[in-house]
């Protein structure tokens, strides 16, 4: 069993409170830094893609998991980040400037969407964001002058002071650096006043108002932050894709991001990362499964979408706290072994009460 023995408040709210955590995450970082030495270029590219998805998932998690605002349309912000970045590069903006600016651009879009969007709740917000995503997808296709329309937009290779970041290893390190920075920044934000305000708005708006929290400002801020981080992921995605077309940013991408966040576990950055890893590995898993199935069932990608749905359904039904919930339960089991009580995390049966009067 593990007991916390803190002598200063600061120890209580540190990010890594125990030696075991510090060692564990240190090892993980070392492994990730050493990856290019052992992995092939192909695998490195895949890992970079997973890192990009982690960033996007963390972006969505800020909005949906931490502030309680459902967004079924985050692909729109990925697209805005990607196209914005590509366009800026084409205009000659240096890469180190274009990347954060793409995030800022997406953040501004999030601001614009957020201001009207906060007037609606729950289901309605889900539908507004859904509709927004579809509209953006269409607009990208039609705005040929800037986005190249349905014909597509080529993305210049990233160059930093003459050195190219196009090859797998430097690109991988770029994605890793951005992912780690985003993770740290968000982790710090979420354990400070702003993060607490997010959670307050999520859990009880009435109480939040009564404590002096400007609920509208917090929601719009969450939208902007979430969109900005997702846009950053989009900018990196532009380099990964090399060539942008509207059908890389469809509703399916939005739903994929939501799957990552929900399966990962709402309300935790670790959940966003775990969810991103699982969802991005799902196609590989399905391809692997296809080897065992008869010819007819392995036709096109019906199986992939079926498996994605099945995994989501299983999590919603049996593990609503997601992969992060599993992780916490496992950790609780290990920490309190052998005194772990089986019903520690048992869920209460609840009856449906209308949410129309929230």
């Amino acid at each position: 069993m593990r007991f916390d023995y803190h002598t200063r408040y600061a120890q209580g709210f540190a990010l890594l409170r125990h030696t075991r955590d510090r060692v564990g995450y240190g090892l993980l970082l070392a492994v990730l830094l050493a990856a290019p030495l052992v992995l092939s270029n192909y695998l490195l590219g895949e890992l970079a893609y997973i890192l990009i998805l982690c960033i996007a998932a963390m972006g969505l998690m800020v909005l949906t998991g931490f502030t309680g605002q459902v967004s079924l349309g985050h692909a729109a912000f990925v697209a805005i980040g990607a196209y914005g970045h590509a366009w800026m590069l084409a205009q000659g903006v240096p890469f180190l400037l274009a990347l954060p600016l793409a995030g800022v651009l997406a953040g501004l879009a999030g601001l614009v969407v957020g201001i009207p969007a906060i007037r609606v709740h729950g289901l309605y917000l889900a539908m507004v964001t859904l509709a927004f995503s579809i509209v953006v997808e269409q607009v990208i296709g039609l705005w040929r002058g800037v986005t190249g329309g349905f014909m597509g937009l080529p993305v210049e290779t990233a160059r930093v002071w003459g050195a190219s970041l196009g090859s797998p290893t430097p690109f991988y390190y770029l994605c890793l650096a951005v992912a780690v920075l985003v993770l740290l920044a968000l982790a710090n934000l979420l354990r400070s006043g702003i993060g607490r305000a997010f959670a307050g708005v999520r859990d009880s708006e009435a109480a939040a108002y009564a404590l002096g929290i400007g609920v509208a400002r917090v929601k719009v801020g969450a939208f902007a932050l979430s969109a900005g981080v997702t846009g950053l992921a989009g900018a990196l995605m532009a380099h990964h894709l090399g060539y942008l077309t509207p059908d890389a940013f469809t509703l399916l991408l939005s739903l994929d991001l939501v799957l990552m966040v929900v399966i990962g576990g709402l309300g935790s950055l670790r959940g966003a990362i775990l969810g991103a890893i699982l969802i991005s590995l799902l196609p590989k898993l399905v391809t692997f499964l296809k080897g065992f199935l008869p010819e007819a069932a392995s036709r096109q990608f019906g199986l992939e979408i079926f498996v994605a749905g099945l995994v989501l359904a299983l999590f919603v039904l049996f593990e609503p706290r997601g992969l992060n919930g599993r992780w916490l339960k496992l950790r609780a089991l290990i920490e309190t072994f052998p005194l772990y009580r089986r019903d520690t995390f048992r869920r209460q049966k609840s009856y449906m009460k209308t949410e129309r009067n929230r």
Binding site: V70, P116, A117, R119, V120, G122, L123, Y124, A126, M127, V128, L130, A131, F132, I134, V135, Q138, V139, G141, L142, A206, L255, V258, V262, A296, A297, R299, Q300, F301, G302, L303, E304, I305, F306, V307, A308, G309, L310, L312, A313, V316, L317, P320, K349, S350, Y351, M352, K353, T354, E355, R356, N357, R358
Partner: protein, 294 residues
């Protein structure tokens, strides 16, 4: 009759024709929402399943349309009943988000199964009214569209009467507002909810079977769910007449946008309407405004 007026009339007729399909799909979704406050994202996929099943029965089993319609409706109703009884029921009491996620998951599963089972090629099949049209003023309207509109009117009226006049319907509304209290009043909530799902499944089946001849059977047909959502929002959440009116209006708006607005607006017209309504008048045309006591 002048050309522009004839065009307007034709576009209006087309709008009502496609709008009545949207209305039928919207009705099904509102049904489930009224009873369980779950927004069924899988509704469009039930529609696609119905359409493909109808095609398979007509093309391979050679059954006549008259037989296929009730068969598919009954089958999909049973499937919907099962979906609720076995799966969706388990998340009662959890926040609305869980319901959305679960129905999205079911939508994915259905879509995957349909793709795997029926293939990806678009199909179509004949109906007793295919290829026949009437002339209404200066506009040509297919007999099939008239039949669809009539069916939708009947279904809407029937459902509205059911919810407001019958004991079962009132019980369903009670269960949606406070499930525990409904239980305590002897309402068999679980069975009722599954029945509603079956009813909604039947409406999806009817829409699917009738729609296929209008616009090719293909897995992308599930997108009609989104149009139906726009219809529901416009008409007012939780309102059956609203879903009907909303569906027709969305159909009309789309067709007008296609003809009178620049290229590209037709595809996003429904979504722009959805966004505008939710921002400006969230309760739509016939919906109720809700508040909360603190």
């Amino acid at each position: 009759m002048t050309d522009s007026l004839a065009l307007f009339l034709q576009v209006t007729v087309n709008g009502i024709a496609i709008g009545s399909i949207y209305a039928l799909v919207a009705l099904g979704i509102v049904l489930i929402y009224k009873a369980t406050e779950v927004l069924n994202f899988a509704h469009g996929d039930l529609l696609v399943l119905s359409a493909f099943s109808a095609w398979a029965l007509i093309a391979f089993a050679g059954l006549p349309f008259w037989l296929v319609l009730p068969l598919v409706a009954a089958g999909v109703a049973a499937l919907a009943y099962g979906m609720d009884a076995l799966i969706v029921r388990r998340i009662a009491g959890q926040p609305a988000f869980a319901g959305v996620m679960l129905t999205i998951a079911l939508a994915f599963m259905l879509r995957g199964l349909v793709s795997m089972g029926f293939g990806t090629e678009a199909q179509t099949y004949p109906t007793p009214w295919s290829g026949q049209s009437l002339r209404l003023g200066g506009a040509a309207v297919s007999e099939l569209s008239v039949v669809i509109l009539a069916v939708v009117l009947v279904v809407t009226a029937g459902l509205w009467l059911f919810f407001t006049r019958t004991r079962l319907g009132v019980a369903m509304q009670a269960a949606s507002q406070n499930q525990l209290a409904a239980y305590l009043n002897g309402v068999k909530v679980k069975r009722l909810n599954s029945l509603v799902w079956a009813l909604a499944g039947a409406t999806a089946a009817i829409a699917g079977v009738f729609m296929a001849p209008v616009s090719l059977v293909d897995t992308s047909l599930w997108l009609v769910t989104l149009k139906a959502l726009a219809a529901i929002v416009l008409g007012g959440f939780g309102s059956l007449p609203g879903a009907f009116v909303g569906g027709l209006l969305i159909g009309l708006i789309e067709q007008y946008a296609g003809v009178y607005l620049p290229h590209g607006f037709k595809d996003i017209a429904a979504y722009l309407v959805l966004i505008a309504v939710l921002i400006l008048r969230p309760r739509g045309l016939f919906g109720e405004a809700h508040g909360r006591r603190v």
